[in-house]
Amino acid sequence: MNKGRDRSFGGRRQELLDGLPNIRRFAMSLTGNLADADDLLQSTVERLLTRGLPHEAPVLPYALTICRNLWVDDIRSRRTREAAKREQALAGEAVADGERTAIGELSLREAQAAIAALPDEQRAVLELVSVEGCSYKEAASILDIPIGTVMSRLARARAALVDRTESGGE
């Protein structure tokens, strides 16, 4: 029945382990708060371990797709999230590490608040392309949207961030 799927994970377990921070960041971009992101991360890992993944499939893109599907199909349908709570969480929970304090905690929080204020679908595509380095094609596949939509959502997300993180403009 399960021919073509790798349930044992074998050496790919390490690949999944290495990709946990990536999946977690993407989950954060979907859920907007750390607690839900970690729940979604756990669900994603559990799903991968119980159902395995297709042989030859690259672990991380597949895991991100599972993560997105779980969010859309399951978690999102069961929870009502409040935007205000999300914004507060995104702006308040994330911790600046030593390297990032160099850019200034204020601007980091400002950027986090600006990201939190983005529509969910823009935030997810921005995270995939800008942070995870996905091509537009990969992002389109993970999010199950056309490439043109990836392009327009990205542009709108970046334009919104420019508006919200710049005080004066030109």
Partner: protein, 258 residues
């Protein structure tokens, strides 16, 4: 979708991601040269992107949930993950993103100084190339800060260029302080030579490896310094030795006074 259907922001955004088809990218680059407002908009979008990256990565500073690590803990892998904390891995290197490397240099040099953009972008469509470019490096750029303050061999993280470092520091035979640097890593790196002038850092030569247009792969061995740049450095060195760490620290502390 053609460029006629796209907004400027969509084109700039796709260009920053290396996702604009070549013909459209070339037309946009022409416009970036001719329209300073468009170039400024591009810089704003790039800066917004950089801020977003930092913000998204902030979650890496919080410990990975133990329940998730336990799920994967049937070998030593989980422990090693814990030890590494929120280490960043990427999906895989992708050629379009690597094409940004010369663009990152352009942001530091040509677009800000307002010239030589043609020279810088021409190799995007060519093979392994040395760029006979020169220009003032903008004093508010990450590259400038690295050249001004970083010790050779100390990796620095720069917006867009990612990992960067000064490779070596030396005094040229005419008395100028010069530094060879690298933006990016491996075959996707831009290698450059900049020398300190009274007004600031001046880029003298830069070189990078363009991807093979046919399959997007890179032709140069990872980590190799392009021969053209090595030659430029040798010429400037004029048989002298590069500075050792102590001498270099002293010159940095003295603000690159001759």
């Amino acid at each position: 979708m053609t460029d006629k259907d796209m907004t400027d922001d969509e084109q700039l955004s796709a260009w920053l991601d290396g996702e604009l088809p070549r013909g459209e990218a070339e037309r946009l680059q022409e416009r970036l040269i001719a329209e300073p407002a468009l170039a400024r908009r591009m810089e704003r979008l790039r800066e917004a992107d950089r801020k977003a990256q930092n913000a998204f990565h902030a979650i890496d500073g919080t410990p990975m949930p133990q329940t998730v690590l336990d799920l994967l803990k049937d070998d030593d892998a989980a422990r090693s993950q814990q030890a590494r904390g929120g280490q960043v891995v990427t999906l895989r290197p992708r050629a379009p993103r690597l094409l940004q490397m010369p663009v990152a240099l352009a942001a530091s040099v040509a677009l800000v100084a307002g010239f030589l953009v043609h020279d810088l972008f021409a190799p995007l469509v060519g093979d392994d190339s040395a760029l006979p470019i020169s220009g003032i490096i903008a004093s508010d750029s990450g590259l400038y800060r690295m050249l001004e303050t970083a010790s050779a061999g100390d990796p620095v993280s720069l917006p867009d260029a990612g990992r960067a470092e000064v490779v070596l520091t030396f005094r040229a035979d005419d008395g100028d302080w010069c530094r060879q640097f690298r933006l990016g890593t491996g075959a996707s790196a831009v290698h450059g030579l900049a020398c300190r002038q009274p007004g600031g850092w001046q880029l003298e030569t830069a070189s990078f490896t363009a991807p093979d247009a046919s399959d997007g792969t890179f032709q140069q061995a990872a980590g190799a310094t392009p021969a053209a740049l090595e030659a430029a450095v040798r010429t400037r060195l004029g048989g002298r030795e590069p500075l050792g760490p102590d001498e270099e620290n002293q010159v940095i502390s003295n603000g690159w006074k001759k």
